[in-house]
């Protein structure tokens, strides 16, 4: 077996994951905090005020990265749920289920910051606009997954059932997106594009991208911390978990 596959298989073993996750998490948190500081300084201080929205637009440096994360985490969760259902990999089950609360938090932040921005700009906290509604439905999907996961006694069966729901939701997300768009839209289109030139000035773009990276690192750091906890709980009967719990080394 070549090195990469070997490493990949090792990463799927609970004790090894517990050890590597524990090593990575503090560094990821630190990097995320540094990048967040840089991104927020760039966004809140260095970037010029918008000619139309003046300083109120600056909330996008939190709002937009969180909105990206809300979708990214959903697909991350669904991908892990798929792996967990097909190959029954324990780590994937745990990763899928621990990413759900983080994703729900990012979605809630997106909605809250959007409301804060909407009040001065649109004159209302909430409007039944397509993107807002789709984001709200996304939050409900997250809450459904979390609710189902906690409603079933057996942890592994719960993870499989909730993971299946996440997969059903993946089919639903684009349908909701397009159906509400057809229904009603007020939100501006996206200004940052992967392909082709973005309709945003580079002085505003770089803090945005730095923040996007920072939120991603924060997600993985938080994911590792949560996954380690759940892993020890799930493997409570195993020898390595007992060692970890008693503080006798890292178990691996």
């Amino acid at each position: 077996m070549n090195k990469l596959t070997l490493w990949f298989h090792k990463f799927g073993s609970p004790p090894v994951f517990h050890r590597i996750g524990g090593l990575l998490a503090p560094w990821l948190f630190a990097a995320a905090l540094v990048l967040m500081a840089v991104g927020l300084y760039g966004g809140l201080v260095l970037a010029p005020a918008d000619y139309q929205q003046s300083d109120a637009y600056r909330i996008i440096f939190i709002h937009v990265p969180c909105a990206w994360m809300s979708l990214f985490i959903y697909f991350f969760m669904a991908a892990n749920a798929f792996i967990a259902l097909v190959w029954r990999i324990k780590i994937s089950e745990i990763l899928a289920m621990t990413s759900a609360p983080i994703g729900a938090a990012f979605t809630a932040i997106t909605l809250a910051t959007g409301a804060l921005w909407g009040k001065p700009m649109w004159g209302t906290w909430w409007t039944w606009d397509a993107r807002l509604t789709a984001e709200l439905v996304l939050l409900f999907l997250y809450l459904g997954v979390i609710g189902l996961y906690h409603a079933i006694e057996d942890r592994r069966q719960a993870a499989r059932a909730a993971g299946f729901l996440a997969l059903v939701g993946v089919v639903n997300v684009p349908i909701v997106h397009f159906s509400v768009k057809w229904w009603n839209t007020l939100h501006q289109g996206s200004t940052v594009r992967l392909l082709g030139p973005s309709a945003i000035d580079s002085s505003m773009l770089w803090p945005l991208l730095v923040m996007a990276l920072a939120t991603k690192l924060w997600f993985f750091a938080s994911l590792f911390v949560r996954a380690r906890n759940d892993l020890v709980e799930l493997e409570a009967g195993k020898d390595w978990a007992r060692k970890v719990a008693l503080g006798e080394g890292d178990g691996a």
């Binding site: 189902l148 059932a161 299946f164 059903v168």
Partner: protein, 227 residues
């Protein structure tokens, strides 16, 4: 039909479920009564002004029927799970998705069909324009099987739980949003005198898709829940 074949198995499931619901035929009225009560509450809350009620009548009828459907979902596999019939179904040599499709069909016939029959009464109570009624019925005819199919997937996930009512609503309602948008959109368009065929066709397309995929998903979910 020869016993032991797939067709015979499907027929047996249908006959059994129909017989069971016929023995408790009073239950079929419950969703209708519920929708009736919900619709009655709206004039109390919004005022009896006919024009105002007529404007939102189609939406109210839809939401009332949708919520009645969610409440009725729980009974889809409940008794079968309790007496072990569901496990026999999972263990049977015939394809589970087809057998489940038969169960969903019977469930739709016994819970949603009475609601569609009652829909004109509900619409009349809210002074819905008569011209919109055929569109409403067509949208209901396409939307309710879709709701049953999507709901079946979620019910299958919660089948072993004792108190699944609220959770089931949380799981199922986000999935119902697009259906509601298209169904109510068709009625809105008809009310405004605009072409209403497109949303109906979308509903039809979604129904065809769900007819093929939902029983498969339902079977997969059931296999997760029953271990």
């Amino acid at each position: 039909m020869k016993p032991g074949t797939l067709g015979a198995a499907c027929l047996a499931v249908i006959r059994r479920d129909l017989t069971l619901s016929w023995r408790r035929r009073g239950d079929a009225l419950n969703p209708v009564l519920f929708a009736l009560v919900v619709v009655t509450l709206f004039p109390f809350a919004l005022g009896p002004e006919p024009n105002q009620l007529a404007r939102i009548a189609a939406g109210i009828v839809f939401v009332a029927i949708l919520i009645a459907g969610v409440l009725a979902l729980d009974s889809m596999f409940r008794s079968d799970c309790d007496d072990g019939a569901l496990e026999q179904l999972v263990l049977s040599p015939h394809p589970l998705p087809l057998l489940l499709a038969c169960k969903i069909l019977v469930h739709w016939t016994t819970t949603a069909l009475p609601l569609i029959v009652a829909a004109p009464l509900l619409a009349e109570m809210l002074h819905l324009q008569h011209a919109v009624l055929p569109v409403l019925l067509a949208a209901l005819a396409l939307a309710t099987p879709l709701l049953s199919l999507l709901g079946a997937v979620c019910v299958a996930l919660t089948v072993g739980m004792r108190r699944s009512g609220m959770l089931l609503a949380l799981l199922v309602l986000p999935l119902y949003v697009p259906v509601l948008i298209f169904a109510a959109g068709a009625c809105d368009a008809a009310q405004a005198g605009l072409p209403y065929l497109a949303p109906l066709l979308w509903l039809g397309a979604a129904l065809v898709l769900a007819l093929v995929l939902a029983p498969l998903a339902c079977a997969a979910a059931l296999r997760i829940s029953i271990t």
